[in-house]
């Protein structure tokens, strides 16, 4: 039985030998869970950090946290995925992704804290985990099936009845469950090793960024199924229940009611974020990841695009609306298809806009300079979406062109320099698609992305932008002034608490040391609390929360309250952030060994040369900031980055991290201060120790 949140065992799968072994979780307990453990395991097991993404020696980790499978609100269902990804430009970094649902809980109930995947099977396999029993199974019959068909096929092997208790094994007391096995699988995009390939679980949980679907495809790994009937012991059961009720009663909206217009926070209601407006003939019901305090996804009365929410629902809406003047089932079918084929909807959506722009420029299309078999006269129709998405997933025609990502496709077509200069190719950081929170406006999103290795996709500070927009759109006054927002947020940002300038998005402040503190805090906070403890990005951090009586969210108090109730630790919020700093430094050391240098850390050229004119909601991007010393909600559009300014900001950042400002490499002093002398030795041996 799992004790104090941990199962004590990590499952190590050798696909080449089709054997498994056990790693003692205790060896990695100091890293907390999730990302921290994944990075440490990668560091230990992958000797050559420059190994290619499709090399059998590359490993993929799927890690839970001690809170997975428990009733900690919006932290029970996430699983952190790491390894060298198939995505990225100019380097495919050691990277991360993350998915929700119920896989993590089932894995814990089965007795495992995580899974380490190494090697390469000589033929397609899937892995069948039933409590402590692990079997490698032939996936020949599953290869070619979409993600839904794959999961149904696996379920049909195990649970032929829709309902009822299933006995595990042949012993009466081996375990019983009513739950379907939790399956994480790839679709045809992953099978065909497209960097747009995702891992998909249930109908709408996906690890998209990083291209881990392709990594699984290269390993000939189709799926992992897990069902567990065990239990997780927690240190303080009554305390955990009381903490959950505190979150529900004091920070969440009244059950089943509409919340005040919040951005992502605990104060959100159970409403899905939908980019399309569906026909009124259909209805929806709510759906949530395990343990969520208020879910963010729907299931529909026609079953189409079940569990899809937020960005994946917008994969085709622009062209659908342009063609039809409104959203039609074309948008829904496109969304359903990316889930079934396991295609990264972010990359696909921005990529299609790029292709369309090239078509309108007379460059790309049938018989044109870039001769592709796409009928752009039909864009917006269902047939185009099906044709395009299918080709991408199967690497046919245009799908082969973009299989290594749209930036690499542009480079292959000889268009990278021109299209990055003009901004037509809207992929600003490390070859990843612009998340829509443009680095020129919401600067912390861009800074965190270039200091990391991918589009960071963390909504902690972005949440307030949405809160302001929602209020303004509804004709309501924003409950807090910009200055009060700054006070609420910065009061939680240990060890820099109280420096209001950290969230001053005024143009005069975006290259300041305070703005560097914001990003440093974010990198450290998220590396532990969000990606290792696995609090969900759509509910945590809970900074400003308009469902709370005083608009002050639970962050700072909440994270350690739940962690300690489960683990029995006595961790403070600040100690968690400090552990995040340690994990972040380990990640950076891996990137340095992969070739990272300060000179590489930059945006795509258009971010410097072209002002941003629109936001995701049009001509307004409200962020807290000061004008002539007075706090207000500024419109952060109309500006571009200054190259020298960004370099100045980078120097602040490196100095705050204790890294060598000339190279961006960690110093021995900094690493040894965090008990990472072995990492310092490895960097030293590679000639990449900062300040040496």
């Amino acid at each position: 039985m799992a004790k104090d949140g941990y199962c004590g065992k990590i499952l190590r799968l050798d696909l080449s030998a089709r054997t498994h072994s056990v790693i003692d979780t205790e060896k990695y307990r100091e890293w907390g869970g999730g990302h921290g453990m994944g990075s440490a395991i990668f560091w230990d097991l992958v000797e050559d950090k420059t190994v290619s993404w499709d090399d059998p020696k590359n490993i993929v980790t799927l890690m839970t946290s001690p809170m997975s499978g428990t009733m900690v609100p919006s932290a029970s269902g996430r699983v952190e995925v790491q390894g060298i990804g198939a995505s990225g430009y100019p380097v495919r970094w050691f990277t991360r992704s993350n998915f929700g649902g119920r896989f993590g809980g089932q894995l814990k109930y089965a007795g495992w804290d995580g899974i380490v995947i190494e090697g390469q099977a000589d033929a397609p396999v899937w892995v069948d985990i039933v409590n402590g029993d692990v079997q490698f199974r032939d996936a020949a019959d599953l290869w070619g099936k979409d993600t839904q068909e794959t999961q149904r096929s696996i379920w049909s092997l195990k649970d032929e009845e829709a309902h009822g208790w299933t006995n595990i094994g042949t012993s009466r007391d081996a375990g019983r469950t009513t739950q379907k096995p939790a399956v994480i699988t790839i679709g045809s995009a992953g099978e065909n090793r497209s960097s747009l390939g995702c891992l998909v679980h249930d109908a709408g949980n996906a690890a998209g960024q990083g291209g881990f679907g392709a990594v699984w495809g290269a390993k000939n790994l189709k799926a992992i199924s897990v069902v567990g009937t065990g239990m997780i012991e927690v240190a303080d059961p009554a305390g955990l229940f009381s903490a959950r009720m505190l979150a529900k009663d004091e920070y969440a909206v009244a059950p089943g009611q509409q919340a005040a217009p919040n951005g992502p926070s605990i104060g959100k209601d159970a409403k899905p974020t939908l980019f399309y407006k569906r026909k009124t003939e259909v209805t929806m019901g709510p759906q949530a990841c395990q343990g969520c305090i208020n879910g963010c996804r729907p299931r529909w009365s026609d079953g189409l695009a079940n569990e899809s929410s937020c960005q994946e629902t917008g994969v085709y809406t622009t062209f659908d609306a342009l063609k039809h003047g409104a959203h039609t089932d074309a948008s829904v079918i496109a969304t359903d298809l990316v889930q079934r084929y396991g295609v990264n909807s972010y990359e696909l959506s921005l990529g299609l806009k790029y292709l369309y722009a090239l078509n309108q420029m007379g460059v790309l299309g049938p018989g044109l300079e870039i001769d592709v078999d796409l009928d752009f006269s039909n864009i917006g129709e269902t047939e185009f979406a099906v044709d395009f998405i299918t080709k991408v997933a199967n690497r046919e025609g245009i799908g082969e062109d973009v299989a290594e990502g749209f930036v690499r496709a542009a480079e292959k077509w000889g268009r990278l320099e021109a299209d990055w200069a003009s901004g037509v190719l809207d992929f600003p950081y490390w070859g990843y698609a612009n998340h829509g929170y443009d680095p020129r406006s919401e600067v912390e999103w861009g800074y965190s992305s270039i200091m990391g290795e991918r589009d960071m996709n963390e909504h902690g500070f972005n949440a307030h932008m949405w809160g302001v927009i929602y209020h303004m759109g509804a004709g309501l006054d924003v409950p807090v002034s910009a200055e009060r927002y700054a006070e609420i947020v910065t009061s939680k940002m240990v060890p820099y608490e109280g420096d209001l300038s950290m969230v001053d998005y005024g143009t005069h402040n975006i290259y300041s040391e305070s703005m560097a503190k914001l990003v440093v805090w974010q990198r450290h906070y998220t590396r532990f609390w969000k990606q290792s403890a696995l609090y969900c990005d759509f509910r945590w951090p809970d900074l400003a929360n308009f469902s709370a009586a005083d608009n002050v969210g639970m962050t700072g108090d909440g994270e350690p309250l739940f962690w300690n109730a489960v683990t029995g630790d006595d961790m403070t919020f600040a100690e968690g952030i400090e552990l995040g700093r340690r994990i972040w430094n380990l990640d950076n050391a891996i990137w340095v060994l992969q070739g990272r240098h300060r000179d590489m850390v930059k945006f795509a050229p258009y971010i410097y040369d072209k002002p941003v004119e629109t936001s995701v909601v049009g001509p307004f991007y409200p962020l807290a900031g000061t004008v002539d010393g007075e706090w207000t909600y500024i419109n952060a559009l109309g500006r571009s980055h200054d190259r020298d300014g960004v370099e100045q900001w980078k120097t602040h950042f490196y100095n705050l991290e204790g890294w060598d400002a000339a190279t961006g490499w960690p110093t021995r002093e900094t690493l040894e201060d965090m008990n990472l002398a072995g990492v310092a030795d490895a960097l030293d041996a590679a000639g990449k120790l900062g300040g040496a």
Binding site: M71, A203, T229, M231, P255, Q258, T283, G285, Q287, N306
Partner: protein, 250 residues
């Protein structure tokens, strides 16, 4: 038979202590509120004329709205936590079963014990481990008396038995309306709080002391109100009317 009579006599005393009136029996009988079996049964009940034994109704019932349930399983985790001090879906006395690919509202079922007026589980138990609680009328298990025969598990008339076989401790268990929740700082039970009801994020579980109508659908209720419609979810009983349409009609 002497034992049966003795038991019946004890039950009459217990029922009197619990304040169950003749009127409640009659009212309940009309609404299938009491279990009625022919005499000779071994389980605890009232001996009525003509050798008919009646079982006191439960003091309360869990009602669920599976069309409102968000499928987060928090109720299940709350159940295992408060009763056993651990997190386990398999130990939960309320089960949420779902298929992510099935269309709403057939995608989820919330399976809770109905505290049946005629509890087949109680009747099936050879040792009286499964019994009617004398204070609350809740059908529950005295684990110390359970011999692990699983007769009660199999006797439950529903396709997913509401009696849970605890494979760890090897005894049957079922919903007791949180009467015995040693890992909770609240007082549970029919007169107290129920953990699943308390913790449900969307208010999809409620509690009633009125005896619900028994049907194949279970104790399903519509707990969706105007606030739910504002979020965008249907509030009609069948869940088939888009609230945008409903608003337009008004």
């Amino acid at each position: 038979m002497a034992d049966t009579d003795k038991n019946a006599s004890v039950e009459q005393d217990s029922a009197a202590q619990a304040g169950v009136s003749r009127r409640q029996f009659l009212t309940g009988f009309g609404g299938l509120g009491v279990g009625v079996v022919l005499g000779g049964s071994l389980f605890r009940g009232f001996l009525l004329p003509d050798e008919v034994v009646a079982i006191p109704a439960s003091d309360g019932y869990l009602l669920v709205d599976s069309k409102k349930c968000q499928g987060c399983n928090t109720c299940m985790m709350a159940c295992s936590l408060t009763h056993h001090g651990v997190q386990s879906l398999s130990l939960s006395r309320i089960q949420v079963v779902q298929d992510p690919f099935v269309a709403f509202p057939e995608d989820k079922s919330v399976l809770q014990c109905r505290q049946c007026p005629h509890p087949a589980c109680v009747e099936a138990c050879p040792t009286k481990a499964m019994h009617v609680d004398s204070e609350t009328g809740v059908r529950t298990v005295d684990a110390a008396k359970c011999i692990g025969c699983q007769e009660c598990v199999n006797a439950c008339p529903f396709d997913t038995s509401r009696v849970v076989w605890n494979t760890a401790d090897k005894h049957a268990q079922k919903c007791d309306l949180c009467k015995d929740t040693p890992f909770w700082n609240e007082t549970g039970g029919a007169d107290g709080k129920r953990a699943c009801e308390q913790v449900c994020p969307v208010g999809a579980i409620s509690f009633t002391t009125e005896i619900p109508l028994q049907s194949n659908e279970g104790y399903e209720v519509n707990l969706r109100d105007a606030g739910w419609a504002k979020i965008g979810y249907p509030i009609d009983d069948e869940g088939k009317i888009n609230p945008a349409t409903a608003s337009a009609a008004h």
